[in-house]
């Protein structure tokens, strides 16, 4: 059974937060939702788990007992210890076995067992939130920005937890602002302004990026440009002096998709 949303529209009063968005989450795979601020990523995840009202479309999700969710606020109780937070989650999902030592070791939280949630660093809190979402081995794991504000080592630990959950057969959906994380996902959905711009495997999204992306050392005078570690990228129909054809990666492809979308909107 696969989960996800089909033709989902979410409206808050007159404002449309999501318009006709679809996302597939297959068991054993990791799907990633990317997009800028206000793109609708959190709304999509909230609708997927049943925490946001939907205006139209179809949501396919398992029973609440088989959903693991990390909300944007981490869901960690600041006035409970790590152990008490996990005990509460275990109790909520009716888990008899309270052996989470292995999971905590994988998350790097074994040494903070008795520390209050509010005393954890931001990264540790995120890892505890992910651990709580995975504790009952859910069929559908939904994580809202699990790696935001987390140091690189902790990001790697969270990535390992996500990969292990998928290997265990769960369908994992997460949002991120880091496109290097999206590149490792099986399926990527790019959102902008509540609209799905493109979706598919990272390679497919890169291959389908329309137009030419150029590499240039300094900031160009014309064309849509964005900064990369090794200089600038330009999306332009014409080759200007100093530009060399660049092989776009997922980050370039996502920016190109957003630029195309805005061009279409302006033309309309």
């Amino acid at each position: 059974m696969s989960w996800g949303v089909i033709g989902l529209t979410v409206r808050y009063g007159r404002r449309t937060a999501l318009s006709d968005v679809s996302l597939r989450a297959e068991p054993g795979t990791v799907s990633c939702v990317v997009g800028g601020d206000g793109a609708g990523k959190t709304t999509l995840l909230r609708a997927l788990v049943g925490a946001a009202p939907i205006s139209s479309g179809v949501v396919l999700r398992p029973a609440t007992t088989a959903i693991g969710y990390l909300s944007a606020g981490t869901g960690v109780y600041p006035d409970l210890t790590v152990r008490e937070n996990l005990d509460f989650t275990a109790q909520a999902y009716g888990l008899r076995e309270r052996k989470y030592r292995g999971l905590l070791e994988r998350a790097g939280l074994a040494d903070v067992w008795d520390r209050l949630g509010g005393e954890l660093s931001g990264g540790m809190r995120q890892k505890l939130g992910v651990t709580m979402a995975l504790l009952h081995r859910p069929q559908l794991v939904v994580l809202d920005e699990p790696t935001t504000g987390v140091d690189p080592a902790s990001r790697a630990q969270i990535a390992r937890l996500i990969a292990a959950a998928a290997a265990d057969g769960a369908a994992v959906v997460f949002t991120t602002s880091y496109l290097d994380e999206a590149e490792r996902a099986g399926e990527v959905l790019v959102l902008d302004g509540g609209v799905g711009l493109t979706e598919g495997g990272p390679d497919k999204i890169v291959a389908e990026a329309q137009g030419q992306v150029w590499a240039v050392a300094g900031r160009p005078e014309r064309g849509f440009a964005w900064r990369r570690a090794d200089g600038w990228r330009v999306w332009s129909a014409e080759q200007l002096p100093g530009m060399a054809a660049a092989r776009p990666d997922l980050q370039d492809a996502v920016i190109v998709a957003a630029l195309q979308h805005r061009q279409r909107q302006e033309a309309a």
Binding site: R46, G50, A51, G94
Partner: protein
């Protein structure tokens, strides 16, 4: 300095609750202290009994507002009328022509006014239930109500809002809980704390202040449970309209203040201006104080307390019902999936 002042005004302009409080509280205090804060008693509901009831009733001072005269009734009937709260004073006439005034000592200010009036008219006055007119005997049963409002409303509201503020309420909504389970799970701990608090305050009142417990424990317990039903409901209701603990605290104070000032705890309701008095009859603490003082001080039987108990039940159903509906809306969006 100017930049901070402008910023503060902009924030204040958007904090509607704070603005409402800044305007409502001075108005409330003005109204309360202008129209309600009066210890002066101008009329005391009175029954006149005994063979010369009719003749004596016509000669009584205006302070004693005669509600009924019955020549067939005797002193026992008069005591029962005071105990049940149908009258605050009773004039008992005897066959030999002697007259004795009985007054309900749980109504402190009325009792003092009647005692003063009786002494002036050289009539014997007997204060029942609280013969020494001790203030603590009257205040402690009311303070039990304040404790219950404090725990029931304030602590519950803060407890639920804390969940929203920490972002964990949404997590609960997605967990395999039904809305009623979350609701009860949040409310039951505060309910138990309030019950324990009540037991402590009652015990302290009896042992430290000599407050009597003359009535039925069952009737008092029923009153406490019904009153908690209302105050916990108000607490949850406040939490559903508050985004943070500060807002919840403000709203809880706005419900607490009128109850302290207008419930009859401090000022006699009968002395309040009619324009303010009706507010008293909408406040749950007004009815709880009637039950609490009645049971503890006067041994009022449950049959005579049916009206305040019924009012607490009605207020409880309305407030609790509203809070459950709002709480459900918070937890379960109208998803179509």
């Amino acid at each position: 300095m100017w930049a901070i002042a402008v910023k503060e005004f902009n924030q204040l302009r958007r904090d509607r609750r704070m603005l409402a409080m800044l305007i409502a509280i001075p108005l409330l205090l003005l109204v309360v202290f202008g129209y309600a804060a009066s210890f002066d008693v101008s009329s005391v509901p009175t029954v006149v009994v005994g063979p010369h009831a009719a003749a004596v009733a016509s000669r009584l001072p205006t302070l004693l507002e005669v509600r009924s005269t019955d020549s067939a009734q005797n002193r026992d009937d008069a005591v029962a009328a005071l105990r049940d709260g149908t009258a605050t004073a009773a004039v008992v006439t005897a066959a030999d022509g002697s007259v004795r005034i009985l007054v309900d000592g749980s109504d402190l200010f009325a009792a003092r006014a009647v005692s003063a009036g009786g002494n002036a008219a050289r009539l014997p006055v007997e204060v029942l239930f609280n013969p020494d007119l001790t203030t603590s005997v009257i205040m402690v049963p009311g303070l039990i109500g304040i404790v219950l409002v404090f725990v029931g409303t304030l602590a519950t509201a803060l407890g639920v809002v804390r969940e929203r503020q920490a972002g964990t309420l949404e997590q609960l909504a997605v967990m395999p809980f039904r809305a009623w389970q979350v609701f009860l799970g949040k409310v039951v701990p505060y309910f138990l704390v309030a019950v324990v608090d009540t037991a402590i305050v009652v015990t302290a009142g009896i042992t430290l202040f000599g407050v009597p417990f003359t009535g039925a424990v069952g009737t008092f317990t029923l009153g406490v449970l019904l009153f908690l039903f209302v105050t916990l409901g108000i607490g949850v209701l406040i939490s559903t309209v508050s985004q943070n603990q500060g807002q919840a605290m403000q709203l809880a104070m706005m419900t607490l203040l009128p109850q302290v000032l207008l419930s009859g705890l401090l000022f006699p309701i009968a002395s309040m201006a009619a324009g303010v008095r009706w507010i008293s009859y909408l406040l749950p603490l007004t009815y709880f104080i009637q039950v609490s003082r009645g049971v503890l001080v006067k041994a009022t039987p449950i049959g005579a307390l049916w009206f305040p108990l019924l009012m607490l039940a009605v207020l409880g159903v309305v407030v609790f019902g509203l809070s459950v509906l709002r709480f459900r809306r918070d937890l379960a969006p109208k998803a179509r999936s």
